[in-house]
Symmetry: C2
Subunit: 241 residues, 2 copies
DNA sequence: CATCAATGGTCTGAGACTAGCCCAATCAAC
DNA sequence: GTTGATTGGGCTAGTCTCAGACCATTGATG
């Protein structure tokens, strides 16, 4: 960890790719995180281009690419739009191995470490903040929605629950960072079979996280989140070997 | 915290600005974080352009802007280069108020929350990882360098110490995120007067952080880091009122 | 003092990206 | 059935950005 390592950290590429590539990535993130659920449509092109800070031409190229790849169904005319057709693939150990091979084991470890750090940080911060009644209700609502979810909706609502924790801190930076961290492991999580034992186990852990946050206990929140995320990481490693 | 809030989070601008602006921002980060110390020079233009993934023309525009603004001194010929001339301004409550006014109180709260979450997450993760002897020595070296620092070098070595914690986790994502978090509050920290009491207090907290990490105690590491960062945040608020 | 390698300074042609405009399709409302 | 609002589809002129080549300056070295 010499000084040159820090140079590498800060003087890294200014841009991850061209505008088209970055736009595809961002839309894919919205789709895979379930921010726009299957059957829903993206905002209209003109509005979306403004939000993303790019030209409509570039946005259309990205939408075209995702449409060709089967993620979107684009329809013209009033009440038309770009509808999400993507459904998370059925869990499969082969998909998992392939996904890991594509991203590389180093990047996988990086992503898991990153997620652990930022989500635990978010849980800690939220627990330490005085939660208003409205926010408490919001968190509890997200938890009960997750607990009542069908297998089909589970991943999407799990994502919603986890992201809510970061959002409720009120920090936009933290929320975007947690969304980024989640999307980096999203494909991997989708590949894990959803066994009832694991879902039950996760439900207990989710409850522990919420309890600690509502109790205003940062240490307990951190521990509960760590346990939950390391459990997931262990599952991942298990299905990889 | 309805669903539309999540849309805002994910469908945010793809790019923070044009290539020139983002490059200026990145170089400024390297300078203000002390990654290139005063008197040092940036890598040669051709190499730096490759590292940043931009054209030499754009890089030169950014360097020119920073040179005009007094951050760099550009010299031609062999052994020439872009030398850092920037020295952190002397602490001043007026500067602080101005800096806060420029970024806005909401962004300030966001940045402080963000920093708290990611640095605590990094400390926790590092404490939970089995540190090799080399890494332990590295961390201790950074701490002792900071403790022996002159007032002039203090901020730069404090930054180096904090960033080392994230870097030692081995997660590039976490390291860049902590660097980003630090740079968002860097100007504010520079504006805080460096009183001996505060420095002594910080030294004790730094020691506690290192002790907890070396002891492999994530809870203690998280608590020590929280205490340290909240102390700094409290100092900031104090000088603002 | 002459050399020469490394560095910043400059130019050009090509491609990426944008803003703004108009066209085409769709469908609820009348 | 007609209308009108909303949406995707497409075009153009202009700006930003890039890759690559070449020039100018500097100063350690022989």
């Amino acid at each position: 960890m010499d000084e040159s390592a820090r140079l590498m950290t800060v003087l890294r590429p200014v841009r991850a790719g061209n505008a088209f590539e970055e736009t595809v990535e961002r839309l894919l993130q919205a789709i895979k995180l379930g921010v726009v659920a299957p059957g829903d449509k993206l905002p209209a092109e003109r509005e979306l281009a403004v939000r993303l800070g790019i030209s409509r031409v570039t946005l259309r190229e990205a939408i075209r690419a995702l449409s060709d790849a089967g993620y979107l169904d684009v329809r013209r005319g009033r009440y038309g739009g770009a509808f999400v057709t993507y459904e998370p693939p059925k869990p499969d150990a082969g998909d998992l191995r392939q996904a890991v091979a594509e991203m590389g084991v180093d990047d996988l470890a990086d992503a898991l470490t990153f997620r652990l750090a930022v989500e635990c940080g978010a849980a800690q911060v939220l627990a330490a903040s005085g939660l208003t009644g409205e926010k408490r209700a919001d968190l509890l609502r997200r938890l009960s929605e997750l607990n009542e979810a069908s297998l089909e909706d589970y991943r999407r609502l799990d994502t919603a629950f986890h992201l809510s924790i970061a959002e409720l801190t009120g920090s936009t930076l933290l929320a975007t960072t947690c969304a980024d961290a989640r999307s980096r492991v999203s494909d991997l999580l989708n590949a894990i079979p959803m066994l009832q034992v694991n879902l039950d186990h996760a439900a207990v852990q989710h409850q522990a996280i919420v309890d600690a946050i509502l109790a205003g206990d940062p240490d307990a929140a951190r521990r509960a989140m760590t346990e939950h995320l390391e459990g997931t990481a262990a599952l991942l490693r298990g299905f990889l070997s």
